[in-house]
Amino acid sequence: MAEDDDIILSELDDEELVLQMHDDLYDGLRAEIEEGVNILIARGWTPYDVLTRALVAGMTIVGADFRDGILFVPEVLQAANAMKGGMAILKPLLVETGAPRMGKMVIGTVKGDIHDIGKNLVAMMMEGAGFEVVDLGINNPVENYLEAAAREEADIIGMSALLTTTMPYMKVVIDTLKDQGLRERYMILVGGAPLNEEFGRAIGADAYCRDAAIAVQTAKDMIARKHNQI
């Protein structure tokens, strides 16, 4: 790819470089993203600005195109992988500088459900958007969600199910939270192929998210609303 050599990231001005990083995220170019992050930091950008303006903004485009059926899972995984490269550099710097946290999510497929591709995608996209994600894996009984959400001081609980027979278990988790007086402490997002908005409402979730991109957008909106309330 000779034309790749034509772009020397360090010679671009900030604005051009950020746009190029959006493109490079879109194309899943991990090494280029890592280089771009290092250049911006060296130019005195705050880690938080690099995260939000270069990486999160770029992943927002990826998310929108995934939602709109322009990109599909392989491309999104590639983009998330590039994002991860950038995040590995930024993470310690973000902690050091006390940058605001996007929020923390505990996520897993519900008891009885072993289909985890959708859940993995949501976890990757949420991380891509700057959220901290604690992945509980597959087949989680209600105790796993409750215990992890409390331990991690999570803002969001995400539940995923692919089977029509396992999706009702989401209601068990929500009802248990209600019984223990913990329901209001967490935002609850649910997703999975057989679900729909009506189902989300019927079981008392905060939102049904049709795909990973919508999960990210919903989480961002809800966290913003929560911050405004305080």
Partner: protein
């Protein structure tokens, strides 16, 4: 190779496949999280009842209860050492039901996805996928399956690996993908791409097509995509009985037997040869489909407008074939 499926395909211009496996088994008491394949050993009577339900409703073929019986899926239940046994049993029970049917019925050995993502993004390699599918295929062959039936695949690499496994087992096979994401598979494969792919395989499938996915309307659009490719190969249509709805703690698919009857005839008119259901499709749906296929005359190939008028709207504006799909304007600096 001569077996029930190619005899049936040679004799008839449409075949009725079966309906749901999971939905039916859950109605028989399978609990969530329990792998249905273990019932091949623990409750063979119930699996025979499942198969008989389809045969008695008029199915010309049925799929064995072996969808998740590959090493990668069974490992989640610490049963990866039982691949051969569970597949053999799935086919043996099927063989017995087919022999007693009193007419020709094909036993099709179901092979679902491994659930893994291929390298470099995931960990699955071609060799590993072939090995897993081959192990499963040998069990199904041993139990007397007529053909292998690869289903609900979303990645081209996985489809090709299953094809290679069929060749290693020396069996004919059929293969379907699940087109559930804006008209494409989760991995972005379009109907046109699958139609092209099957012709490039050294051992192409006897028939190929679509199963599961969104609703009957979306599935019909995919079938029309296959026909538009000009394929000469029999096309398989196995759509869900509508869309799942939640009522009072239970899930019901909203597709009525009457709607599935309409869908079966539309699928035939669109060019499908093997027509069946998927999730939510019960024996009463299959009966309605059989009756509709037997009594209603063939009609002209339906348009997309006909499909949405009869079966409901599509989940996305485009299915990714042709030039009308959405695209993003790129700055394209790295593209020269």
């Amino acid at each position: 190779m001569t077996h029930a499926l190619n005899r049936l395909l040679g004799a008839r211009d449409w075949l009725l496949a079966d309906g749901a496996t999971g939905t039916n088994l859950f109605n028989m008491g399978l609990s969530a999280g329990e792998p249905p394949e273990l019932w091949n050993a623990n409750h063979p009577d119930r699996i025979a009842t499942l198969y008989r339900g389809a045969v008695e409703a008029g199915s010309d073929l049925f799929l064995t209860n072996s969808f998740g019986a590959n090493a990668s899926r069974l490992k989640l239940h610490a049963a990866q050492g039982r691949v051969r046994e569970l597949n053999r049993l799935a086919a043996e029970i099927g063989r017995e039901v087919a022999e007693k049917a009193g007419r020709e019925v094909a036993v099709c050995g179901s092979m679902g996805p491994t659930g893994e993502i291929f390298a470099p993004m995931g960990t699955l390699t071609h060799a590993l996928a072939v090995e897993m599918f081959h192990e499963q295929a040998e069990g199904l062959k041993e139990g007397g399956a007529d053909v292998l039936w690869v289903e609900t695949i979303s990645a081209i690499e996985e489809f090709a690996a299953a094809a290679e496994a069929a060749a290693l087992a020396g069996m004919d096979w059929c293969g379907t993908m699940s087109f559930d994401t804006a008209g494409r598979t989760m991995m972005g494969v379009t109907s046109a791409q699958l139609a092209a792919l099957v012709e490039t395989l050294p051992n192409p499938p006897l028939a190929f097509g679509a199963n599961c996915g969104v609703g009957a309307a979306d599935l019909m659009r995919t079938i029309l995509g296959f026909t538009a490719s000009g394929t000469e190969r029999p096309i398989i249509a196995k759509g869900n009985a509508g869309i799942p709805k939640y009522y009072d703690g239970h899930i019901h698919y909203d597709g009525t037997p009457a709607l599935m009857g309409d869908y079966a005839c539309l699928a035939r008119d669109a060019g499908a040869t093997i027509i069946g259901g998927c999730c939510g499709t019960m024996p009463e749906h299959l009966r309605a489909m059989r009756a509709a296929l037997e009594t209603r005359p063939r009609g002209p190939r339906p348009t997309l407008e006909d499909v949405s008028a009869r079966l409901g709207g599509f989940s996305s504006a485009s299915d990714g074939t042709g030039d009308e799909g959405p695209a993003r304007e790129r700055r394209g600096r790295r593209r020269g």
